[in-house]
Amino acid sequence: MTLMLRAAFVAALIATPAYAHHGWGGQEEAVTSLTGTVVQGVSMAGPHATMKIKVGGDVWDLTLAPPARAARSGLKEGLIPVGATVTVRGNRNLDHAKHEMKTIYIKQGGSEYHVYPDRE
């Protein structure tokens, strides 16, 4: 039992550089701009809204704001169709092996979505 407790404690320590859906700690400072085609439209389910775009040969996981906040920027599910060309700006994952970006801004045609205006 103490082994389990120790394992949990060690696991908690390892997990301290917290990112995933909690904060910006695992992202680069620099803002990256990407232009690609939507392969999976905006999903408003889960702790953060998400979408996937294809840039060159790579599929990027775009992490947006929590759903209610993403909705306030004007985003809705189905609004940006699969296959549409979008330009996005955000902070990519420190681990460049992961094509993941916390997304600040999305532009599709004449529509702009300021997901995190305070970070622009």
């Binding site: 039992m1 103490t2 389990m4 407790l5 394992a7 949990a8 404690f9 696991a11 908690a12 997990a15 917290a18 990112y19 995933a20 859906h21 909690h22 999903s43 408003m44 389910a45 889960g46 702790p47 998400t50 929590p66 759903p67 209610a68 993403a70 909705a71």
Partner: protein, 163 residues
């Protein structure tokens, strides 16, 4: 069926589709209910376990055991009823997440421990008579295991989102 296959199946289940369709506040609200369930579950268990470990000896165990056990049961049901839909929303995100593989075995061990404690003579007898030292020690072991397993489950559960 591997864990990855199970999580993929779970995400594509009708419950997953239904939970995802509930609107922009749904995840936050389900998450809130899950936390309330855990508060009820662990808060009650903490009081009972600390009593069995020797705290507040002036309060008879028999007085505490019934309400804390009942509240913990309610908390468990609330946590299950919110946790299951929550995990179906984007189950495939959890593939390869080691905390998931700590959390659920820890819950299984915690529930097994409840079962074993409730089957002891010490547990049955505590409502009708004073316990012998050996019986009190049996309950202490159960209480220590209980706190260890539940704290492990809660820690691993919280860390899932940070992986």
């Amino acid at each position: 069926m591997s864990v990855a296959q199970f999580l993929t199946w779970l995400e594509h289940s009708p419950l997953g589709a239904f939970t995802r369709s509930l609107g922009v506040w749904s995840y936050g609200v389900i998450n809130l209910v899950h936390i309330l369930g855990i508060i009820l579950l662990f808060g009650s268990i903490l009081i009972l376990d600390l009593r069995m470990l020797g705290a507040w000896r002036q309060i008879p165990l028999a007085l505490l055991s019934r309400p804390t056990t009942r509240l913990a049961q309610i908390g468990l049901v609330v946590a299950l009823c919110s946790g299951i839909p929550m995990i179906t929303v984007k189950s495939t995100d959890y593939i390869g997440n080691p905390f998931l593989l700590i959390k659920f075995p820890a819950i299984a061990l915690a529930l097994l421990n409840v079962l074993l404690v409730h089957r002891t003579e010490a547990w049955r007898a505590h409502r009708v008579r004073d316990l012998m030292p050996s019986e009190r020690n049996r309950l202490k072991i159960g209480a220590a295991l209980s706190l260890t397993f539940w704290l492990t489950a809660i820690t691993a559960g919280r860390m899932i989102g940070y992986w």
